[in-house]
């Protein structure tokens, strides 16, 4: 038992030390006094009291010793990350409605992705220091990672890659062609803004071409959110605003054919009822033990 307790104690001490050191490195320069006070009080009575003393004094100042903080290179990387992040996020919000993010923000995304890769690559920069661990993995928040992964997720779910060329440097030809076709339709809509009936007639050709193109691209998986959204809006314009719906004008023939079909079974059942021989069953008399009162009773009752 004694040994066990001792072991546990040593383990606990070690763990606490580790946590303390780890948490020290977590806080960036502008750590507030408030959060420092939240550090576990259990730490105090342990043998590391002297270190802790210096920690408390340090926490109020804005810098760490060199080895606990970060080197210049990493700070520089962080700064670039910040800039590009802001640019890209700015771009996203700007083109959120109607959605045009893929067309406008791919440069921003590319550069952000570059710097992120740079940080996470773990390749030592000048002075033989890798910034991956110190920037990305030294706290439980892992802010840089979380921020980037969210944006990356948005980019993926927008399927922007499908609208861009292989290297993501420019819009793909399909996209450009689709835009051109879309603009033709929109121009046509513009032209007949006043008269909806005429619009439905005259713009039908270009709208139909657009729809077909869209259908083809859907099959080839070369659609991204921009195109989908643009198409959605166009469809709504066409169907809702200009109400170019197909007319339901064949009600009479459909009803006629349906009622004819529904009439057939009635004829069928009537004719089979009238003409078909009804199936009869021949009763068989089983051999039974000779008369018994109770048996007679039940048979009487039945017949």
């Amino acid at each position: 038992m004694d040994l066990l307790t001792k072991c546990t104690f040593v383990m606990a001490c070690w763990a606490v030390t580790f946590i303390t050191v780890a948490e020290c490195s977590i806080y960036p320069s502008e750590m507030s006094g408030d959060s420092a006070r939240k550090l576990p009080s259990a730490v105090v009575p342990v043998s590391q009291a002297s270190t802790l003393g210096s920690f408390y004094s340090l926490s109020l100042s804005s810098t760490f010793p060199e080895d606990l903080g970060m080197n210049e290179y990493c700070i520089e990387l962080l700064r670039i990350y910040r800039q590009r992040y802001v640019t890209y996020a700015n771009c996203l919000v700007t083109y959120a409605r109607p959605v045009k993010v893929c067309q406008n923000c791919y440069t921003g995304f590319n550069s952000l992705e570059d710097i992120y890769k740079n940080i996470s690559s773990d390749q030592p920069g000048p002075g033989n220091v890798g910034c991956h661990d110190s920037l990305m993995r030294s706290d439980r928040l892992m802010l840089l990672y979380a921020l980037f992964s969210k944006l990356d997720e948005i980019w993926t779910s927008a399927e922007c890659k499908q609208c861009l060329t292989e290297d993501q440097e420019a819009l793909s030809n399909d996209t450009v062609y689709f835009m051109a076709t879309l603009n033709q339709s929109l121009a046509c809509f513009e032209q007949y803004q006043r008269n909806h009936t005429e619009l439905c007639k005259d713009c039908k050709a270009s709208y139909k071409r657009l729809k077909e193109l869209y259908g083809r691209m859907d099959k080839n998986q070369t659609l991204c959110i921009d195109l989908e959204d643009a198409m959605n809006i166009t469809q709504q314009l066409w169907s809702k605003n200009f109400s170019c719906l197909l007319p339901r004008e064949e009600t009479v023939p459909v009803i006629a054919v349906s009622s004819f079909m529904l009439f057939l079974p009635i004829i069928f059942y009537l004719s089979s009822f009238l003409h078909s021989e009804q199936k009869k069953r021949k009763l068989i008399h089983p051999k039974r033990a000779k008369s018994n009162n109770s048996l007679m009773n039940i048979q009487d009752k039945f017949s």
Binding site: E249, K280, R281, I284, N292, S294, I298
Partner: protein, 770 residues
């Protein structure tokens, strides 16, 4: 064996007629009947549910412990018994594997065919929506449906009528101990599979799950015998299992494997066998059945994963995949339980309505639509009308929903909806029923509007009622689930209107599931196994309690009006079905009143001529004959010393085992149990066995072959006691004896099954030739 080629059923004319009548009620039948009328016995009544048909016989579940059997047992080593056990396991594995394969094949075939059909119709509809002339699309759809159904119906009506319907009633009867002619033959299996594919692809309101159970049973019966009499091929394996006892055990494994493949519910399958057929049950058998079920679902899984291009990914276990319910909508609260119970009651009422309508329809069909060509026409008409109704519903529906990102609609129809939207009615109708069920369960709230659901429920209810009982092979599970899911979802939507502010708990998908359970429970009235099947098929144990409650309520409410659908159909087929218990208030009936008497007995050493005469007597088709020590000339009954079966006598006659030939037989090989097994299950009819005049004078010693210790009861035994013996031991003949052990009567299954509780107490069913 050569005699079998001539396909005459061994129980003679009555049986033969029985097999033929549902097929072709030609003029011949009519003439026969008229003659009968002339013979001044106008004992003819229209078909009704209060009849017992002569064509059904019992299975020989009881083992005949004659000397041959004892000899064989003595010869067999300990190792031999071990091998038998291992063979049983191998057979169960094979059953599971083959059943899974068949399920997989059906699934793929239906998917492909229905895919082609819907694709063609969709293209056509799209074309004519723009150009005008949608009535042509309607006709195209109707014609395609009818064409598919025509093939299926022709196969069933002309080739193998027993393959019609879901097959569950027939399997239920088989497991109950009734030998339904031709129900477990290979030909039936082929027609069944083909028929199911045709009827599901033909767009009828049917499912492919019920027939899977029948298919599994046929596979089991075939595999366990190691041969096929239809193909005339004997693999010379598993010969030991050529007995009714063994066959029936394997058939219960096959049925379980079928359920398991159909719903991805191995435990449900085992419980199904237990619930429907388990009068004879033991632990090892259960374990083997479970093994067969598991193998079956695994096989299906494996091959489907290959088909879907993801080999090794084993997560699509059943033919019907209800999909998974997400954990956040799974939750239910205490205050929802009364709602579930209300839904259960509703399901019971609707199920009873379904059954009542179907009951009258089935009676009409049996009486008037019994010619195969009429049956085919009826099926085609139903298919055409189904297409018409669906089309009309879709055409006049104004319910348009936007196409979603993750929408699962395989064939979205736009019709007159705005671009980018689809017709919501079409997701329910323009789809195979299983997909519709899935979308009702899982589509997000707001996918369907209440009017659409209401109209759909109503239309589909009547279509399904009308469809069940047609001469196509098809099941009732999926249509019931679909009807229930539709009104359940409607219920959920209306609830969320009422509880408008916090409508989080009223997830329509959850209520769709509960509704589906209620409706299915109300129609088929299964309890334990259905609960487990639904729990397993949805992969969700959380709903176990609500589903159980719902099924319980549905059964109680439904039973108040009418029995379950399968029981109705069993009754209408005039099957001598033994329920769990004798009818209540029947203790005053004794064996003396129940038994048939006088009994045709045979002497221990009997004249061949007499045996042949007894067997060929067509007016009384007996299958078991008590063997008595010696019959006196006057009517005194003899003392019982054994029981011999018709099948045994026929084999004896065929091999000419006569006393006079005993000397010459010494050189020949002695008759073994194997000779009896070889003739099983289609013993040749007595007419095909030639017995010359000289041979008629010979004698036959039955001592060696009869069952020396048949079960007997005294005359005063009450009906429930006799019943219990029959039900628990699977008897076929029960000899009634007097104080001095003299035979006075014989009780068979039909003698017991004729009693049932009607409106005014105990009633008796009539025996009839059907």
């Amino acid at each position: 064996m050569a005699n079998i080629a001539k396909k005459v059923s061994w129980s003679g004319r009555g049986d033969d007629r029985g097999e033929r009548t549902p097929l072709l009620n030609g003029d011949e039948e009519v003439k026969y009947n008229r003659q009968d009328i002339v013979r001044s016995r106008p004992k003819e009544i229209p078909h009704n549910e209060k009849l017992l048909s002569l064509k059904f016989e019992s299975l020989d579940y009881d083992n005949s412990e004659n000397q041959l059997f004892l000899e064989e047992e003595r010869r067999m080593s300990h190792m031999g018994f071990r091998c038998l056990e291992i063979r049983r396991w191998v057979i169960c594995g094979l059953i599971g594997f083959l059943t899974g394969l068949i399920a997989c094949m059906i699934d793929i075939a239906v998917e492909k065919l229905a895919g082609y059909k819907y694709f063609a119709v969709k293209l056509n509809i799209e074309k004519y929506t723009e150009l005008g002339g949608l009535s042509i699309s309607l006709i195209l759809w109707a014609v395609l449906n009818s064409a598919f159904v025509m093939f299926g119906a022709i196969a069933v009506a002309f080739v193998e009528p027993i393959a019609a319907g879901s097959g569950i009633p027939q399997i239920k009867c088989f497991l109950n101990g009734v030998k339904i002619p031709r129900v477990v033959r290979l030909k039936t299996l082929v027609i069944k599979v083909f028929g199911v594919i045709c009827s599901v692809a033909g767009g009828l309101a049917v499912g492919k799950e019920g027939p899977m159970i029948h298919s599994g049973a046929v596979v089991a019966a075939g595999v366990s015998q190691g041969r096929s009499t239809s193909l005339k091929k004997d693999f010379k394996i598993f010969e030991y299992f050529r007995r009714d006892t063994e066959k029936r055990d394997f058939v219960s494994a096959g049925a379980a494997a079928g359920v398991s493949a159909a719903f991805g519910a191995p435990v449900g399958g085992v419980l199904f066998s237990l619930e429907e057929g388990a009068s004879f049950w033991n632990q090892m058998l259960t374990w083997r059945i479970f093994f067969a079920s598991m193998v079956s679902t695994f096989t299906l899984n494996f091959f489907l994963s290959i088909y879907h291009g993801k080999p090794g990914e084993l997560s699509s276990p059943g033919l019907i995949n209800f999909g998974r319910f997400d954990s956040d909508i799974v939750q239910y609260n205490l205050y929802e339980i009364p709602l579930f119970i209300i839904m259960g009651a509703l399901g019971g009422v609707l199920g009873a309505l379904f059954n009542i309508i179907n009951y009258w329809l089935t009676i009409f069909r049996i009486r008037y639509i019994h010619r195969p060509c009429l049956q085919v026409m009826e099926a085609m008409l139903v298919a055409a009308v189904t297409a018409t109704v669906s089309f009309a519903m879709i055409y006049f529906s104004n319910d348009c929903q936007p196409l979603g990102q993750d929408n699962t609609e395989e064939y979205p129809l736009q019709l007159f909806c705005a671009d980018g939207e689809y017709n919501s009615m079409a997701t329910a109708f323009f789809n195979t029923p299983e997909r519709s069920v899935r979308s009702l369960f899982h589509n997000p709230p707001g996918t369907y509007n209440p009017v659409t659901l209401g109209v759909f429920t109503l239309a589909y209810f009547f279509l399904a009622v009308w469809t069940y009982g047609l001469t196509v092979s098809a099941g009732v599970f999926i249509p019931s689930l679909l009807i229930g899911a539709a009104w359940g979802r409607l219920f959920g939507i209306l609830l969320s209107f009422i509880a408008s502010s916090q409508s989080i708990w009223a997830d329509p998908g959850k209520y769709a599931l509960i509704g589906a359970a209620a409706q299915l429970g109300g129609i088929v009235r299964m309890t334990l196994s259905l609960t487990v099947i639904l729990v397993e098929a949805t992969g969700n144990v959380t709903y176990g309690f609500p589903i159980m409650l719902v099924l319980m309520t549905a059964k109680i409410v439904g039973d108040y009006f009418i029995e379950g659908l399968y029981d109705i159909h069993i009754k209408l087929q005039s099957v001598p079905f033994l329920h769990w218990d004798a009818p209540p208030t029947s203790h005053w009936l004794t064996a003396r009143e129940v038994m048939s008497s006088p009994v045709t007995c045979l002497n221990r050493v009997e004249k061949v001529g007499r045996i042949v005469d007894v067997l060929s007597n067509t007016s009384t088709i007996h299958n078991g004959f008590p063997v008595v020590a010696h019959t006196s000339e006057n009517d005194e009954p003899g003392i019982i010393c054994g029981l011999i079966l018709r099948s045994q006598l026929i084999v004896l006659l065929k091999h000419k085992v006569f006393v006079e030939r005993a000397s010459s037989r010494l050189s020949q090989r002695k008759l073994q149990l194997k000779d009896f097994r070889d003739a099983y299950p289609r013993f040749p009819p007595i007419q095909s066995i030639h017995v010359s005049q000289d041979e008629r004078e010979c004698m036959m010693d039955l001592t060696e072959f009869m069952n020396p210790t048949p079960y007997t009861v005294p005359q005063e035994t009450s009906l429930p006691r006799v019943f219990k013996l029959f039900r628990a031991l699977g008897l076929r003949h029960l000899v009634v004896v007097d104080n001095e052990n003299r035979v006075v009567g014989l009780v068979t299954r039909k003698d017991l099954a004729r009693y049932h509780v009607g409106k005014d107490g105990l009633e008796e069913l009539h025996l009839a030739q059907t």
